[in-house]
Amino acid sequence: MAKPKMALYWAAACGGCDVDVLDTNEKILDIANLVDIVFWPIALDFKYHHVEAMEDKGIDLCLFNGAIRSTEQAEIAKLLRNKSKVMVAFGACACFGGIPALANFTDREEIFERVYHEAPSNNNEKGTVPLLKTSVPEGELELPELFDTVLTLPQVVDVEYFVPGCPPPVDLILKLVDLYARGQLPPVGSVIASDKTCCDECDRVKEEKKISRFYRPHEIITDPKKCLLEQGIICCGPATRGGCGMRCVKANMPCRGCFGPPPGVVDQGAKLVSALASIYQGNTDGDVKRMLEEVVDPAGTFYRFGMADSMLKRKRLQKSRGSVRNAKD
């Protein structure tokens, strides 16, 4: 019987999730024995036309990492969806938007302005910018169109499973492959991680959640055994799904939510506003004012990996848009 076919692809990504799969070290050989990898740009030389030539649902398992922020990324997501039986949103970017979704605080015009004109290190006297179509003496060149708004994979195509994390821990990848090999994948729509929060998984000592002020991580030296939040460091653990092994907290850095919201929480950032404001001690106007000054970048901290997945999804666009595109069309 032929081996199952697997594809991996990266959209608006950094390559970390692909390297992550390689980080399974010698177990990658087990994976290679188990499946035929038919598309994986970081490691294999298959082209888009190879995927286009495959029969629909010919790919058994597709691990898709990266957020969607261009026409090309949306097209390849739809192409791979057509060709794949099971689509996995792999990594925080595909699941929730990830770091690239911080671009939802700005828009394409502002990005182009900064990148191609304003940036101090630029040497672009002619003011060249990328164009959708460029005429050259030999013919025409095309580039995909960038969206103003970064999207998650499920906002573009149907997704069966989610593996969160930036990047997902190696043991979760192996768990996914193992479950797949044994035909024991959980119900469609499942997140392959813990169903508890990071706080539940964290083994720091938790006493009483009452803090008199917030500190930025560089302002104090923290006790490595005590809960970071109780010491005044803003930690997103209370509103983040567990299963990551608390890698950041073990390195003495507060959680920033890369596993997304835990079960039952629809909007990670709103939950964090609620949780942090609740444990802050102080009721006078002065206390509230102080608290607001101490939380320096609420939206960027509480939605660090989840802007595209939030209820508001993006900062209000200032200009009126000529054409409105629905990414699922």
């Binding site: 390297v19 740009p41 690239p100 671009a103 700005t106 990005i111 930036c166």
Partner: protein
Amino acid sequence: MPKISVNPITRLEGHGKIEIFLDGDGNVANTYLQIPELRGFEKFCEGRPVEELPRIVPRICGV
């Protein structure tokens, strides 16, 4: 002119495509490398606390 597209380029980090234009004899007339992605770190890092940058910018490249 006839054109050969190498899309995507592979076995490196990042996205790219190469367009090779051939002349009448089938020789390469010109070749163009295009990078069809832009995430905008240069812009969206603005407004973030400086101590958070070391946790944001490594996501430019995870390799």
